[in-house]
Amino acid sequence: MTTTAVDPGRGRAWRMLALTELKLLWRSPATLFWGIGFPVAGLVVLGLIPGTGKPVRALGGISVLQTYLPIIITFMIIMTGVNFLPVTLATYRERGVLRRMFTTPVTPQSLLAADLAITIGTQVATAALIVILAAGAFTASIGAPLAFIVAFALLAAAACTLGLLVAAVSFTAKAANALGAVLFFVLMFFSGLWLPRAEMPDWLRGVSDATLTGAGVQAVQNAMAGHWASGLFFGVLGAWVVACGALAIRFFRWQ
């Protein structure tokens, strides 16, 4: 399918699509809770517990809050990018929403782009809320903002392309949901949600380094501490974006 080039009339269609998808997000309480409410509430609870701001030797000399802030951000990114995004797209494909769009002057690629934009927008807005809250209320500020932005952008891009890949290989919305859930637990384990990366044995941390969440948490953590992480971690994130993106394009079906 070819897409039309620049066409001023399409701008209106695109804005309506994005606005509609935003409304649908707003009407989905589970998505709002797990994607936005829960991570923000997690930060607040953690911040209110006394002593979570003090450096801990077992965590490599950083505080509990500094350890978990990148994990909370990662949780939010994986939830929205690897779980909600593919389930939405697979549902649209299963119910013929994408097929119906093929019969209109606007292609289903536009709907995919709108969903991607809404997902990334949600991730950026929620991350901003978390960062401002952490710095303003709980003294966990970001030492190297540019390094943080680059790390966040790569992590979000890797999660969204993995989400597109999940949507591409899942025949049904149910399958996308199941695959997304499995990936969520695996990825969150390697991010250090249950066992902080500093406490992992070397071999396990080595595996974690190669996952998008392990590399992402490391890159975000270093940025908070005020310096750029090793280029290796950015390389791992970039590799995930390229690999998932290429596979998603190869396997994605519109109907």
């Binding site: 039309t4 009339g9 209106r12 269609a13 804005r15 309506m16 699509l17 509609t20 409304k23 649908l24 009407r27 989905s28 549902t91 649209y92 119910r95 013929g96 929403v97 097929r99 119906r100 093929f102 019969t103 209109t104 002057p105 606007v106």
Partner: protein, 300 residues
């Protein structure tokens, strides 16, 4: 010039031939039916006509356009309701129409269309809360929101209860009367008989007959069935020897006579001469149903 012209369409998926050889033409302002049993190749034909699939062989012209080459222009002018096309569950009726209106260069007024399709009291209802008939009416509305010249409707009433089905039928006639050419795909005989001006019967990937519903029915048999209860004793031999009568079946005072178009006249002549009244008189003609069975060699 026909609005749609399909010549020698052929399409196969791997070893499976979906459409063997289909040709038909649709004139402006008519409801044209594509009738056939499940798996006959109706949907594939429609997908090729609307540019969703690339034909293997054959020519297709819609409003003078090639569905593959000129699909951008085609999509502005052809509204399509696909089989099983749903919407996001939480999307509301009015929002769906406003959204789809934004896709077209010259959209219809969404509110006006809502009123016309009788969805006034459901305009703020989410898609998942609509009844089957309301969902189908919304689907028709979405096919019409771009003010198309041609509307293609695939299996519109499948799964609807009889009342909802009648509701949608009334709507389709209105659409035709507003000047839109309608292509209606169905496997449902009564629907084709009541709605279509002309139709093509497709079976096993081929067009096996084209014509008006009554024309097809007549060609398939052209017989009439006269049934009545005689008010006084009558022997079946008195009827069976008549010209125009092919067969007579008697059970007590009840008679069933099969014959050609003038059979009724012949039977009534005898009854009048004998002073016998025909009670519970019924006259039946071969229906599209009979035609379909005769043409395809299978019942529904």
């Amino acid at each position: 010039m026909p609005v749609i012209e399909v010549t020698g369409l052929h399409k196969e998926y791997g070893p499976k031939v979906a459409v063997e050889d289909v040709s038909f033409s649709v004139e402006a302002g008519e409801i044209f039916g594509i009738l056939g049993p499940n798996g006959a190749g109706k949907t594939t034909t429609i997908e090729c006509v609307t540019g969703l699939r690339k034909p293997g062989r054959g020519q297709i012209s819609v409003l003078g356009l090639d569905p593959q080459r000129d699909h951008d222009a085609l999509r502005e002018q052809v509204g399509v309701q696909l089989q099983d096309g749903q919407l996001p569950g939480k999307l509301r009726v009015r929002e769906a129409l406003k959204l789809y209106a934004s896709f077209y260069a010259q959209p219809a007024d969404a509110d006006e269309l809502i009123t016309r399709l009788g969805l006034d009291d459901r305009r703020d209802a989410p898609f998942e809360k609509l009844s089957g008939g309301q969902k189908q009416r919304l689907s028709v509305a979405l096919a019409l929101i771009g003010t198309p010249k041609v509307a293609v409707l695939d299996e519109l009433t499948t799964g609807l209860d009889p009342a909802a089905r009648r509701e949608v039928w009334g709507l389709i006639s209105d659409v035709r009367d507003s000047g839109v050419t309608v292509v209606l795909v169905t496997h449902f005989m009564e629907e084709a008989e009541r709605l279509c001006d002309r139709l093509a019967v497709i079976d096993r990937g081929r067009v096996i007959a084209t014509g008006t519903p009554s024309g097809l029915a007549y060609r398939a048999g052209g017989e009439q069935y006269v049934r009545f209860t005689a008010s006084a004793p009558l022997d079946e031999d008195e009827l069976s020897g008549l010209p125009h009568v092919h067969a007579v079946h008697q059970e007590g005072d009840q008679f069933a006579v099969t014959g050609d178009e003038e059979a009724l006249q012949a039977v009534m002549g005898v009854l009048i001469r004998r002073g016998i009244t025909a009670r519970h008189l019924r006259l039946d003609q071969a229906s599209l149903d009979d035609a379909f069975v005769a043409l395809t060699g299978k019942g529904q």
